[in-house]
């Protein structure tokens, strides 16, 4: 693979040096972590930065831990890290379900979850799951640290609230503090690795609180507040599932592109919401299928 554009490559020793470099070059600089998006874009000349700042050496940004009753996923934690983390499996298995559906093994071994939301393509898999957990992105820049709620993070396709010179250091996922269960549903063109034609993250908390978020059916990963309101406090009856599915479609704005028509996306959002809610509810009741199945492909055993 040959990259035709020329750029400087720097791998600074300290995070503050990296921030200074990024601040100095502004929009001409790009952060390199897993590189699974960036290197492809460079090859296809979709981006032409002057500078790549390689952050792979910073131990502070690695790993997955717990801090202040939240799961903290470092900027260098890969999807494989998420998939293999016992902590994730125990505390927030929905992330595990999502991570298992990202690309392929090889890509997951390099691609980072934080990088996924920094790329901020509409079909990013991490977006909807972070949305239902009200995650917070931790950012460092020349003017110090700040926290950006995930609801304010995505500004548009490939656009985030990150300012020039800033670096996303981690994302914190607060534990809901009560019993909960979820389901990540991804519509793909086949069972193999694929970008989402559409995705739905469902989270149900004890006390009949429902949260839904959608990927690839709007410019950014979005929540479904009206559907959540409809469901709130109610038990899931077949009629309610139907109604929720129909309402969810009104909350998204799918488009037609090479991966799907908007008509199919809309139809599938309905199906995905129904299947996602049903699966999450049975998981909450302790009898659902183990995390890791895609209910668009196979039935719960």
């Amino acid at each position: 693979m040959s990259i035709a554009c020329e750029f400087d490559y720097r791998k600074p020793k300290t995070l503050s040096k990296a921030i200074r470099l990024l601040a100095k070059r502004g929009r001409q600089a790009r952060v390199l972590a897993g590189g699974t998006d960036l290197v492809g874009w460079l090859r296809d000349a979709l981006v032409a930065p002057d500078l790549l700042v390689d952050i792979k050496g910073f131990d502070d940004l690695k790993g997955i831990g717990v801090k202040n009753r939240a799961l903290v996923i470092g900027a260098l934690a890969t999807f494989s890290d998420v998939l293999e983390s016992d902590l994730v499996a125990e505390k927030l298995p929905l992330f595990r379900e999502m991570a298992g559906m990202v690309a392929s093994n090889g890509v997951r071994n390099r691609a980072t979850l934080v990088g996924n939301i920094c790329s901020a393509v509409p079909c990013c898999d991490a977006g909807p799951v972070l949305q239902v957990y009200n995650a917070v992105v931790h950012v460092r820049g020349p003017n110090g640290k700040r926290k950006i709620p995930i609801g304010q993070w995505f500004l548009g396709p490939r656009k985030t609230a990150l300012r020039p010179g800033e670096l996303a250091t981690s994302v914190a996922v607060p534990f809901p503090g009560k019993k909960h269960a979820g389901c990540f549903v991804k519509l793909k063109r086949y069972r193999g690795e694929d970008l989402a034609q559409a995705s739905v993250a469902v989270l149900i908390l004890a006390g009949r609180e429902y949260r839904l978020a959608f990927g690839a059916v709007a410019p950014i990963a979005v929540r479904g507040p009206r559907t959540e309101a409809l469901l709130k406090g109610k038990a899931l009856s077949p009629d309610l599932l139907e109604e929720a599915g129909r309402l969810a479609v009104e909350e998204v704005v799918p488009i037609t592109d090479i991966r799907s028509t908007k008509e199919y996306r809309a139809l599938m959002v309905e199906v995905m919401v129904r299947r996602g809610l049903k699966t999450a509810a049975s998981r909450l009741a302790g009898k659902g299928p183990a995390y890791g199945i895609n209910v668009m492909e196979e039935d719960a055993p």
């Binding site: 040959s2 990259i3 063109r189 086949y190 193999g192 592109d257 090479i258 028509t261 199906v271 039935d299």
Partner: protein, 807 residues
């Protein structure tokens, strides 16, 4: 025939160790030293435009750039069956991605950067992507000079149109056939373009040495044909066949995409431009999609007449092919279908029009199945629908009409021995045809699909194979042939054939990949013919060797030759039971006589094979009178398909394919062909979905958006069934099988889908999306938007067939 020891056995592949250890070398593995140069091609961004000016001055100034080459440097055409392609576009470009110039530099990045600095000024012209437009009155002509192009004698271009070839086959009287029918049914089916997706992209290194020798190391299925096409194209520069050498190491998949000559011509030309240094041209995955060959798209109308008892009285099959900007190979796909579009059925009245149409899309060409997968989708869909209309079981309907040995083919010759009925019965039994299955899931349904298939190799009447065979001191053998090992197991099968004649086990026989200087001639490794054709040549060479060995023993020992035979690498004698002469004792150094001298010497032999009974001299208006095809391989297949009514997603629970291979030389390799072919065929049915923009640009030249199956996407179970009705002129009765195994796949899915959920879809692919939408009454064509998924833009069901001169 006595029991065979090596033929019919699943011998271990003789290239297995080289492949699994990584010792096998592919072109990109070869080391050409520090003087190797790299080329980057400047491509057309337009589907159709005039080239006004090429300014390479900036590119030439980039340090490391050696040469910039344009069409002016090589103003020559080339082509296998029609000279319509250009080494570099001259004056005009005809598809997005066509090579306009090339930069040769000391490293690939420099070449790439400099190529971006080559400034090409174009005058865009209107383009024609749609078949309807291409065939319309006053259509824009993709090749205004068509009438001046030289081509093979069995092509019939229509001057001043976009019709590059029109194959007409007429047998009996179709109108009479329709009158005799109790029911006549007509409909239109469409199949888009497809890409081969071989795991190894095209790569070739060319070197023109200071003595005027042009050597090419090419990832190819066709070393000799490449040499011939290069020699023809470069003849104005004084190059002759003897000056050109093509070496083909192992190939990472061909599927037809590496047959003939496509991008390889660029390396041949560039080598001449940088005399002395080797130069590498290596395609990216994107280029692999849009500038080699693609499988051609087709719109096909089928009209079929049947009697109530199920007898087919007539078939009228009209096919319009989107062949792309150059048809030097693809027009022969169109030709092959034009001779065979009845499928494997006895049909008294036949009218086939197979029309090859130029468009401003990438060149079409050979792809596993050579047009047969495309027409079988419509035909085998139609067979099910017709059976339903006359209330006959679709398997019984096929059985009733199945072709048998001696039946008259559409072009008048007679059908070879075949076990189609046996294949139908076995495939139907294996999927428990007629037994309805229920899904355990409330939103899923299970259906069964069935389809038959046939295919003949499409070859010039004098396509030949040859083999050399020699012994070594230890009694081991070398076979030298120029068929290509493209994964199918060709090398192993050649060893098994020689082994059967000479009793030397395949493990003691080396068969290497070709080098046109050293290996015996082979036309091409295409058409599923090499086991048959080259196998016959190897068998002949082995027999010649056997005769020479017997002659030596006879001379020394005086035994009658009829009494001599081979057993376990020994010469034995029926009249002298204690005589056993090991091969290794005499095949190089001869046999010592009582006088102390030696008779004999190094044993070697050669063999050749050409199907001397074929001809391409059929009447242009009817195709009657010639014998264009050597034989047809037939078979039948079935699947059990689970369909999710809500999502449209389909899962193949079981796939079965029975094929009459005459004689399986290596049953494991035949079974592998069946598995591989079905997987590839099912991918074209379910996943692969090519998209062009309205400007003719391929939108998904990558595996992100052009999906071929992963290990998760293959059928849960595949059952291969081998039928063996011997081919009299095949080696040990064998006939070809490589391509056939994918031909039925698309119709299988379409038929199973209808059985499961009552939905009949007449256009490929049958994606989950299309199924889900159609199940809700939404026509995919109405909503698919401007990213067209097919080779035409309008509603295919409203497509008007061009029937001028078609009587």
């Amino acid at each position: 025939m006595t029991a065979m020891k090596f033929v019919g056995q699943s011998a271990t592949r003789i290239d297995e160790l080289a492949k699994v250890t990584g010792a096998a070398q592919f072109v990109d593995d070869l080391d050409f030293g520090p003087n190797l140069l790299y080329a980057e091609v400047v491509e057309s961004p337009h589907a159709h435009a005039l080239i006004k000016r090429i300014d390479a001055s900036r590119a030439k100034k980039v340090p490391g750039v050696v040469r910039v080459v344009t069409g002016k440097d090589f103003p020559y055409t080339f082509g296998l069956y029609m000279q319509d392609r250009f080494i570099f576009a001259r004056d005009r470009v005809r598809f997005v991605g066509e090579q306009v110039a090339a930069v040769v530099a000391r490293d690939p990045v420099t070449a790439r950067r400099a190529a971006r600095l080559v400034k090409v000024t174009y005058e865009p012209l209107p383009h024609v992507l749609d078949l309807k437009e291409a065939l319309g009155e006053d259509a824009l002509l993709v090749h205004p000079d068509l009438k001046n192009y030289s081509h093979c004698p069995w092509f019939f271009p229509v001057a001043d149109t976009n019709i590059a070839h029109w194959r007409k086959t007429r047998k009996g009287d179709v109108e009479q056939g329709f009158r005799e029918a109790d029911m006549v049914f007509e409909d239109t089916y469409t199949v888009p373009r497809y890409a081969h997706c071989a795991i190894e992209p095209h790569v070739i290194v060319g070197q023109y040495d200071l003595a005027g020798r042009l050597t090419l190391w090419s990832s190819s299925q066709s070393p000799y044909t490449q040499r011939h096409v290069f020699a023809e194209a470069l003849a104005p520069l004084g190059l002759k066949h003897q000056d050109i050498r093509v070496i083909t190491p192992f190939v990472g998949g061909g599927f037809g995409g590496k047959a003939g000559v496509s991008m390889e011509i660029i390396a041949a030309a560039l080598a001449l431009a940088v005399k002395g240094s080797p130069v590498k041209v290596r395609w990216t995955r994107e280029q692999e999609f849009y500038n080699t060959y693609q499988r051609q798209g087709v719109i096909a109308r089928i009209k079929m007449g049947v009697k109530k008892d199920g007898a087919i009285t007539a078939i009228e099959h009209t096919l319009h092919w989107d062949a792309g900007a150059y048809v030097e190979y693809g027009a022969n796909v169109v030709n092959a279908v034009g001779l065979s579009a009845t499928g494997p059925y006895r049909v008294p009245n036949v009218k086939i029009d197979s029309v090859c149409v130029y468009t401003n899309l990438p060149p079409g060409g050979p792809y596993r199945g050579f047009g047969y997968s495309e027409f079988h989708f419509g035909l085998e869909s139609h067979m099910n629908r017709v059976a339903k209309m006359i209330e006959m079981d679709p398997v019984e309907f096929r059985r009733r009409n199945a072709i048998r040995e001696g039946d008259t083919l559409p072009y008048g010759a007679h059908m070879n021995p075949c076990g189609l009925v046996e294949a139908i019965d076995k495939a139907a039994a294996e999927i428990a045809w007629g037994k309805k299955e229920e899904s355990t899931s409330p939103h899923k349904a299970i259906g069964k699909g069935f389809a038959c298939f046939w295919k003949a190799p499409a070859m010039p009447p004098n396509a030949a194979s040859a083999a050399f065979l020699k012994f070594n001191e230890d009694g081991s053998l070398n076979i030298s042939v120029s068929g290509m090992e493209i994964g199918q197991g060709f090398l192993t099968v050649m060893a098994q054939i020689a082994a059967e004649v000479l009793t030397v086990p395949p493990g003691r026989i080396r068969v290497e990949t070709p080098d046109t200087d050293r290996n015996a001639y082979e036309w091409q490794t295409v058409g599923s013919h090499v086991t048959w054709g080259c196998g016959n040549a190897v068998k002949a060479a082995a027999e010649e060797v056997r005769d020479k060995m017997l002659q030596v023993v006879h001379r020394v020992h005086g035994f009658a030759k009829e009494d001599l035979y081979f057993e376990d690498e020994h010469v034995k004698c029926r009249s002298k039971p204690d005589f056993a002469l090991p091969f290794k004792d005499f095949v190089i150094s001869g046999i010592q006589t009582p006088h102390g001298n030696f008779l004999g010497g190094p044993i070697l032999g050669s063999g050749m094979f050409m199907p001397e009974f074929t001809s391409a001299t059929g009447d242009p208006e009817t195709s009657q009178g010639g014998h264009p095809n050597v034989h047809y391989t037939v078979g039948a297949a079935g699947i059990v398909l689970e369909v999710d009514r809500e999502t449209g997603k389909m899962r193949v629970l079981k796939a079965v394919l029975a094929v009459d291979v005459g004689q399986a030389i290596n049953p494991d390799l035949v079974r592998s062909q069946i598995v591989g072919g079905l997987v590839q065929g099912l991918a074209t049915a379910l996943y692969e979905d090519i998209r062009y923009s309205l400007e003719g640009k391929l939108l998904n030249p990558n595996f992100t958006d052009y999906k071929i199956p992963t290990a998760l996407d293959i059928p849960d179970k595949i059952v291969p069934i081998i039928i063996e009705v011997a081919q009299p002129d095949g080696p040990f009765g064998a006939r070809g099988v490589g391509e056939h195994t994918m031909i039925a796949a698309a119709a299988l899915v379409a038929n199973a889908l209808e059985d499961a959920v009552g939905l009949r879809i007449k256009s490929l692919p049958l994606t989950a999306e299309k199924v889900a939408l159609e199940l809700r009454g939404i026509r995919y064509d109405d909503v698919k938007g401007s990213t067209m998924g097919l080779c035409f833009m309008g509603d295919p069901q409203q497509y008007a067939f061009f029937t001028k001169n078609s009587k």
